[in-house]
């Protein structure tokens, strides 16, 4: 198990590096430049100076390695220093956003709370809804519950979030006035009232995301349950005279969760990447929003960094999923 994890890690590092190189080179070919959004009146020399000031003069590989150095050493040290308050930040140039002229690391750190609140909760609720639905649908296969569940999850899966999102706003903010249509990122939960406000402001985006995630996960859950319900060991458990509940919730569920847990783990990075549209609609200025806006204004350092972080997350959670699989399933022995 340990060497297995080590080996996966050993493969993960080059994967991430290759990804970072691809992303870096690709964006390097991109037409946008840091002066693109400046007023038209700014003369050419000034533009050139601005470019030089942002370090665009070096050859591309030099810039890549500089960026990589900042990305893997300096930025993390600053993020850690910010998070812990320790004085461990390493001196040196940081990755600057072309648009805000500030370190991208700081912006990313700033955006994590709302991303987690909304997208994370959306995912969490999705799971919480999906698991029981999947279990019951599989147990009562072809019952009306199953059929309805299947239909709803298909619909949830098929209707794009930007459609549901707009409809939600119209109904719940404009017509009914229950929830704010805009997310307030500065809001802090301090007491019961502020907590209630937080609940109200995350209600719609979380609902949209939860619906979408639940549709997906419940399908997996159902399939996995169905696979396991037909296994011989279920019959054995019944032959022991166990309560149906025990059979289902102890024997079958435990086995069915193994693939689902890994699917869920692999899906966690989408918490950060997949909600770009939902974030836009509800004005939740999270990481997805940062990315898409950076793309609009050709703020490549920002795009590079966020993409790279996403890639690390994906690789990391794939790793975690594999390791989880090994932990959950005693049969798996990674030599």
């Amino acid at each position: 198990m340990f060497t297995y994890t080590l080996r996966r890690l050993a493969f993960a590092v080059p994967t991430v590096l290759v990804i970072s190189l691809i992303v870096f080179l690709m964006l390097d070919m991109a037409p946008g430049d840091p002066t693109g959004s400046l007023p038209l009146t700014i003369p050419l020399e000034v533009r050139e100076q601005i470019r030089q000031a942002l370090g665009l003069g070096d050859p591309v590989l030099v810039r890549y390695f500089k960026w990589l150095h900042m990305m893997v050493i300096i930025e993390p040290s600053h993020m850690l220093a910010n998070a812990t308050g320790w004085n461990i930040a390493i001196e040196g140039p940081r990755i600057l956003s072309w648009q805000t002229r500030s370190p991208v690391g700081d912006i990313i750190v700033q955006r994590i709370p709302q991303t987690l609140w909304v997208v994370g909760l959306g995912y969490l609720f999705g799971i919480l809804i999906a698991v029981p639905i999947g279990v019951i649908s599989a147990y009562k296969q072809y019952s009306w519950f199953d059929q309805t569940g299947t239909f709803i999850s298909m619909v949830g899966f098929s209707v794009p979030t930007f459609f549901t999102g707009v409809v939600f706003i119209l109904i719940f903010s404009v017509w009914l006035g229950w929830f704010p249509s805009m997310y307030d990122t500065t809001h802090r939960v301090r007491d019961w009232d502020s907590f209630l406000f937080q609940v109200r402001q995350i209600a719609m985006p979380v609902a949209v995301l939860a619906l979408f995630n639940a549709s997906q996960i419940s399908r997996f859950m159902r399939a996995s349950m169905l696979d396991n319900l037909n296994q011989d060991y279920v019959r054995t458990a019944r032959a022991k005279g166990l309560m149906e509940r025990t059979v289902l919730l102890v024997h079958v569920l435990r086995n069915s969760m193994i693939p689902v847990v890994t699917v869920i783990a692999i899906g966690i990075p989408t918490v950060f990447t997949g909600a770009i549209i939902t974030e836009q609609i509800f004005r939740v200025n999270g990481l997805g929003d940062a990315l898409i806006r950076a793309i609009y204004v050709s703020d490549w350092p920002m795009v590079q960094t966020i993409t790279f972080i996403f890639a690390i997350l994906i690789v990391l959670f794939n790793l975690i999923a594999d390791v989880l699989y090994g932990i959950l399933d005693p049969r798996i022995r990674y030599e």
Binding site: S37, V46, Q99
Partner: protein
């Protein structure tokens, strides 16, 4: 009832395009300029009528009061006594000089550096007096330190941020110390800003609002909805929405639409040079090859006549736009009254003109001459209103026998200055193109200068240059030179109108719609005066909450 500082409580502002930095010198965007304008202030600024008003000075320097030298080469500003920065320190002339040095540092990449073009020196004569010396006689010396684009920053704060280090001073850039009514309490780039009242603000009773949340993000529709329908926001900026949509939302009754017209104008530029891809690279779209079709003024006029500007305005802008036939549409005094004939669509005349020019209709309804079809490539940036315009204009031009191919380019690329890209509006590898542009302040002289011969983008200038349509007219150039020398306001006004008329009557470009600045304010906010010549928040200190 008596209003005092902070008595109005909290204000919510929504900018659907979020603010990325509080240092306008590092951004150049209108949104950044607006946000920073309530913190950082210039020596003088324009009011809502476009009149220059003293701001951090007691009076404007003029020829009359001797503030401007007779040879028009120097201007001397005298700061109001007792001004304090928001950190409580004194504002001195050294800060002003520093601002000049900061923005003109060769490695700094200051976005408003052109404001300081042609300056020989900026000196602090004494603690409160600043003397600016120009290289040449400058009839309009009110460019440096005037208007939202040229505010004063604090030397103490930015001393270590000169040149290449400018972007690294994140703390200073995100929370500059200023003289304005508010200071930054919390800044989150591209997300939200928290402002609180500046306790050292020079007017003791102001600002009335104690704090401001300046939210960013979402889209224009959401922003409008938040003011008009849900009442979550008090002020929303730049609501470029379809007129019906705005109208319908306004019916919500919680707020009102604010529109005012400045120099922003949507137009079609006509390429006077041949953009044909068959030409060798380097000669394409240069003055070496005049445009084979559009060099004929009759064709250009026909293009203009076929357009129904009223309809375009109604569809694209509604009350937020006005059909126009002028190059210089504002300030009102400078707008020419001589060109209103283009406001009415005249298909017959357009057809006639084309017939005269020798373009004859073929079987498919498209005209041709000497075996050449009357075919135009029409490009613009990707944007819903522009695409609607394109579709309409394409249809009208078809009716007069012109085949138009449409193209739209991502705004980032289109307005970018990358000489390597063939899709920039500067390169103009198309026959006609549509966009809007404006000028800062109230003086159109630099704007008119753009159309001077030799200023066109060309390979030798890395395709940089402002004479987008490669217009070249000696008469125009001569007239402009006169304007540039003329200090007398009335004469200047005449000259501007003459230049404008010369340009538009040559159908060198086709003005379409004068676009207003459109914002929305909740009915409960009072004191706001929309200003198109300066920051929309120029009088932020005076905004207050209307008690109900």
């Amino acid at each position: 009832d008596e209003r005092t500082r902070g008595s109005s409580g909290h204000l919510n502002v929504i900018y659907w395009q979020a603010v990325s930095t509080m240092n306008p010198f590092l951004s150049g965007g209108t949104k950044e300029m607006n946000a920073s304008s309530i913190v950082l202030e210039p020596l003088a600024r324009f009011d809502n009528m476009g009149e220059l008003v003293p701001w951090l000075v007691d009076e404007l320097p003029t020829l009359e009061n001797g503030g401007v030298s007779e040879d028009l080469k120097t201007i001397t500003w005298k700061l109001t006594d007792g001004l304090l920065w928001s950190d409580g320190t004194d504002v001195t002339s050294a800060d002003v000089v520093f601002t000049y040095e900061y923005c003109t540092h060769p490695e700094g990449g200051c976005s408003y550096r052109d404001r300081f073009a042609g300056i020989e020196s900026v000196e602090a004569v004494d603690d409160l007096t600043i003397k600016i010396t120009f290289e040449d006689a400058t009839p309009n010396p009110y460019l440096p330190f005037v208007g939202a684009g040229s505010p004063i920053i604090q030397q103490a704060q930015f001393a270590d941020c000169m040149g290449a280090r400018a972007p690294e001073c994140t703390d200073a850039n995100f929370a500059p110390v200023g003289t304005g009514p508010y200071t930054v309490a919390d800044f989150r780039p591209n997300d939200v800003i928290q402002f609180v009242a500046n306790e050292h603000y020079r007017v003791p009773t102001q600002p009335y609002f104690e704090s401001i949340t300046w939210a960013g993000g979402g889209d224009a529709t959401g922003a409008a909805r938040a003011v008009f329908q849900t009442g979550e926001m008090d002020y929303a900026w730049n609501l470029q929405l379809a007129p019906e949509v705005i109208e319908q939302m306004e019916a919500g009754g919680r707020g009102q639409l604010l529109v005012d017209f400045g120099p922003l104008m949507e137009r079609i530029e006509i390429n006077f040079t041949d953009p044909s891809p068959s030409l060798p690279e380097g000669e394409r779209a240069t003055r070496q090859h005049p445009h084979p079709i559009l060099s004929d003024i009759r064709v250009r006029e026909a293009l203009s006549r076929a357009i129904d500007r009223e309809l375009l305005t109604e569809i694209g802008f509604g009350p937020m736009g006005q059909p126009t036939c002028n190059f210089i549409v504002a300030p009102p005094a400078m707008a020419s009254p001589n060109n209103d004939n283009c406001l009415v669509q005249d298909m017959d005349r357009a057809n006639e003109l084309l017939d005269e020019a020798g373009w004859e209709r073929g079987a498919d309804g498209i005209r041709s001459k000497d075996g050449m079809r009357l075919e135009l490539l029409f490009q613009t940036s990707t944007n819903a209103v522009r695409q609607d315009f394109q579709a309409l204009i394409q249809q009208w031009w078809r009716e007069i026998g012109i085949d138009t191919r449409l193209r739209n380019v991502d705004a980032g690329v289109f307005f970018g200055s990358d000489p390597g890209s063939n899709d920039t509006y500067l390169k103009f590898y198309a026959d006609v193109q549509m966009y809007a542009s404006l000028f800062e302040g109230t003086d159109p002289t630099p704007h008119l200068e753009q159309r001077r011969c030799g200023r066109e983008p060309q390979p030798s200038t890395q395709w940089q240059g402002q004479n987008i349509n490669r217009y070249c007219n000696e008469e125009y150039d001569a007239l402009w030179a006169e304007l540039n020398r003329e200090p007398d306001p009335d004469r200047r006004q005449e000259l501007v109108i003459a230049l404008n008329d010369m340009f538009v009557q040559d159908y060198a470009h086709l003005p379409l719609v004068a676009r207003g600045r459109v914002s929305a304010a909740a009915n409960t906010v009072g004191g706001l005066v929309l200003n198109v010549w300066d920051s929309e928040h120029w009088n932020q200190a005076e905004w207050y909450r209307i008690a109900d």
